[in-house]
């Protein structure tokens, strides 16, 4: 199994160490951490900038138009134009608003969403913080972000914002549970809460060519699907963008935000999306592992990046297509569909774990049972969820 050249694999680290070597020893720990943070911020800041552009361009292409193409070469400078404008825009704090919370909300949101970047393994050797319970840390950081959304909605003293705050709370309470339940199978199989261990556990290939990624097992696929749906809801993306539902609540919790604070929210949304995408890659898509053995010469962080970008493209694609749910449908979907499905998935993974010794000769049976355990509840519950809905036939007047 070919590996990328060690120096290529470690290239970012080597660069950091080279910088570090110039400095006196006592400063090194600080500079180390500082550089990690700076690089993360830089990379994801740029990713955010170009992600907004990519979203606008892809959305445009899906809608038969080219999208921004005038600022800079083919539009690449569009995010910077937006940035300059946002930075220089007047910052309005409504007279009735709660000024402290109004200010604290975007700051807290960005801080929380940045915190989650610390524990994602970006490459074989690239991990800012190797934590024993890193996954837990990740979700702890993510859970706090809805608090910021609430603060934003409440502080504006705007009725639409208030409704958005209520929606944000209801949405969070509903989707936190499936999100947490969806990754428990991964923890059960890999026996660790450490992201790097989870990635390592997904190394290798079945039959020499099918990667041992979690998503390629029945329970993993179900878990991945639940995780993606729940993370769409967690990052307030369409079709779960109810807190800022444009056609209903103007701009929801953002209604009273202008200028740079609004840009911070925007940034946090994309950071949250990137973080959840990165965690999905780590938990289900084999992290930085290459999909095929012969492609191993490409450095691991490139694989991570490619998978992340693919997921983000998926987010954009879904946003361009789907309409939005209603708040009661959203909570019902979470409680009556996703949570039971995630619980059933726990049973599936238990079975998978116990039947690990069947692999001699009974492998197809094991797969069949696991698939049935996933598909049958899905179909049954899906039918219950969509009871009474369906295409209709129409009659025509006699004359």
């Amino acid at each position: 199994m070919p590996h990328a050249e060690p120096w290529l694999e470690r290239a970012p680290l080597l660069l950091r160490d080279a910088v570090n070597a110039l400095l006196p020893a006592p400063a090194r720990w600080w500079v180390d951490s500082f550089l990690d943070i700076a690089v993360l911020l830089g990379v994801f800041g740029l990713l955010f900038a170009f992600l907004t552009l990519a979203e606008r361009k892809v959305l445009g292409r899906i809608q038969n138009r080219p999208g921004p193409n005038r600022a800079g070469w083919g539009g690449v400078l569009q995010p910077f134009a937006d940035g300059i404008k946002m930075l220089t825009k007047e910052d309005i704090v409504p007279r009735l608003a709660d000024p402290i919370l109004h200010f604290a909300a975007p700051v807290a949101l960005v801080a929380f969403s940045l915190m989650s970047f610390a524990v994602i393994p970006y490459g074989r050797h690239l991990l800012a913080l190797d934590m024993d319970s890193g996954v837990l840390y990740f979700f702890a950081a993510g859970a706090s972000s809805e608090l910021a959304v609430f603060m934003a909605g409440w502080s504006g003293r705007n009725k639409y914002s208030l409704l958005a705050a209520m929606r944000a709370l209801a949405q969070l309470i509903s989707y936190e549970l499936p999100l947490l339940l969806s990754f428990v199978p991964v923890v059960m199989i890999s026996g660790s809460l450490s992201p790097s261990a989870i990635v390592t556990a997904q190394g290798g290939w079945h039959l020499g060519f099918i990667p041992r990624w979690n998503v390629l097992t029945p329970w993993g696929f179900a878990g991945f699907a639940i995780f993606m749906v729940a993370s769409l809801a967690e990052s307030n993306r369409s079709p779960f963008d109810l807190p800022e539902a444009e056609s209903e609540l103007i701009a929801g919790h953002l209604t009273e935000y202008s200028g740079f604070k609004y840009a911070l929210f925007f940034m946090a949304e994309y950071f949250g999306m990137c973080a959840l995408g990165g965690m999905a890659v780590t938990l289900f898509l084999g992290g930085w592992q290459a999909p095929c053995a012969f492609l191993g010469f490409i450095p691991s962080y490139a694989w991570f990046g490619a998978k992340l970008l693919a997921l983000l493209l998926g987010f954009i694609w879904i946003r361009a297509t789907l309409p939005r749910l209603r708040i009661d449908q959203l909570t019902r979907f979470a409680w009556k569909f996703l949570v039971p499905l995630a619980l059933v998935n726990l049973v599936t993974v238990g079975f998978w774990h116990l039947s690990a010794s069947w692999s001699r000769g009974f492998d197809p049976l094991r797969w069949a049972i696991a698939i049935a355990l996933v598909v049958i509840p899905f179909v049954a519950m899906g039918r219950r969820l969509s009871a009474g809905l369906g295409p209709r036939t129409y009659r025509f007047a006699a004359q």
Partner: protein, 208 residues
Amino acid sequence: MEITPEQKDELRRHGILLTSLEELYNWGRSHSVWPLQFGLACCAIEMIATSMARFDIARFGSEVFRPSPRQADLLIVSGTVTKKMAPQVVRLWNQMPEPKYCIAMGACAISGGPFKQGYNVLKGIDRYIPVDVYIPGCPPRPEALLNGLITLQAKISGQSISGPDAPRHLGSADSCEYPVPEFGGHDLEPPKNPDLWQPPAPARAPKP
């Protein structure tokens, strides 16, 4: 601190910094004009058409139609402003953060247009808020709106940070809020904002 144009030329000659800062600022503003998602009448449909695939205002970076005035840069007054609606339009304008621009799109927004004889029609939105670009037509073609946007971009790019041709928002601080007219028994009160709009005298007297 006031800088005269001569001083500014001097500065320009000496330091590139101010010029390039100014250029950067203007470039950023002019390439990221986000309109308010606000339609009034017929012209609004052409405004929507402008943002659609055929004309694609996104190419100018302006497809981000924000529903909340707090995040918008450009108020496109697209259609007839009735007297019942005028206070809302002024309120929306007041809610937008500086720097902000206003395009009066179509005959009705400029002057009341074909409906100017109506008792409930405001004869031009510039009676209450300052208008940067007027686009005549009823309704203007989507290309005409794009042309108006280009005109606006050119106007922004020509502004300098200081001096007499500085944009409105860098000037006096009190120019941001405009008084909102109130509903009276027969008309809006006041029927115009005299600080903002002083029409020229009528072109000609009635024939005896």
